[in-house]
Symmetry: C2
Subunit: 175 residues, 2 copies
């Protein structure tokens, strides 16, 4: 395994740096869920928490939302709101609607959304990263937006590690 | 609030990009612990988990460890092992030794260690980021090392958010 932050083949120089970061983050996400059981994907540590499955789908939903906003320059339509709304918002709706999917479902969603991001980034020049945009109402740039997609993923990967370990220990205590 | 990933005054171009990322990550860490009570800093969700206090000191310990390894080019000495060992390793020793500190203690440690990182980074040329080094035995570069410091912080910030919310909800249920 080589671990570098640097230019990446097929991308503009600065975009390659970003891609090497998001690729590394994704690898650690996939490592964190390797062999996850159905019980682990659907298990709650507390009645108002989020499941690992919901957090995984949330990662894909956040990325999908930013694609719609910053690649397509529009708001999500009704079909997209229906498909991704529960995962985007998490909480009660996520707990109710995101349940029973096998691990492969989440991995496929993450992969499919990410492929789109990488395809679009491959066509962008570095200047695009520095273009001004609004994030959550604040003045920002495209570089921050895609940094933030990764940053949100890492945040939730940390939670997934904690939840999975705690669920496994609960199970051991019950055995 | 302006949120950009871009060059930063006082740093070489590429190092500035990294600094804007680590500064943003740190801001979100400080936001996540604003007003944290002693009970929240020392509370455990499960007997084998980590406290918010231990996770905060861990962030500083990881950064301190990388400073020693990659800025100073040496191994930690006995005094440093004694001061930072519990926070670096977390687990049982962390639960035993890291307890009872006020929030200001953790913030001061985080700040002190970070100031050293920023001071050293301000003197480095961009080429230094691409110098080869070993990370956990793997071929890597300095860029990855300091990206990883941030990535580990974000991972634990995600856990802190989860732990704090769960502790607050436990307390509400008990009230």
């Amino acid at each position: 395994m080589d671990i570098y932050i640097k230019e990446q083949k097929g991308y503009a120089s600065q975009i390659g740096h970003l891609v090497s970061q998001i690729n590394y983050a994704r690898k650690t996400t996939l490592d964190s869920i390797e062999g996850c059981t159905q019980e682990e994907l659907d298990g709650l540590l507390s009645s108002d928490g989020n499941t690992i499955g919901a957090l995984l789908l949330h990662m894909a939903a956040v990325e999908k939302g930013f694609q719609i906003e910053f690649f397509d320059g529009r708001n999500p339509n009704e079909v997209e709101m229906e498909e991704w709304g529960a995962a985007y918002g998490l909480g009660a709706r996520g707990r109710k609607e995101i349940v029973g999917h096998p691990l492969s479902f989440y991995i496929e969603r993450l992969h499919r959304v990410r492929q789109k991001t990488l395809t679009v980034l491959a066509d962008k020049p570095d200047e695009w990263l520095y273009e001004e945009c609004r994030w959550d109402g604040y003045p920002s740039n495209h570089y921050f937006i895609w940094f933030h997609v990764m940053e949100d993923e890492i945040n939730h990967r940390g939670q997934i590690r904690l939840i999975r370990k705690a669920l496994q220990q609960e199970r051991k205590r019950e055995a």
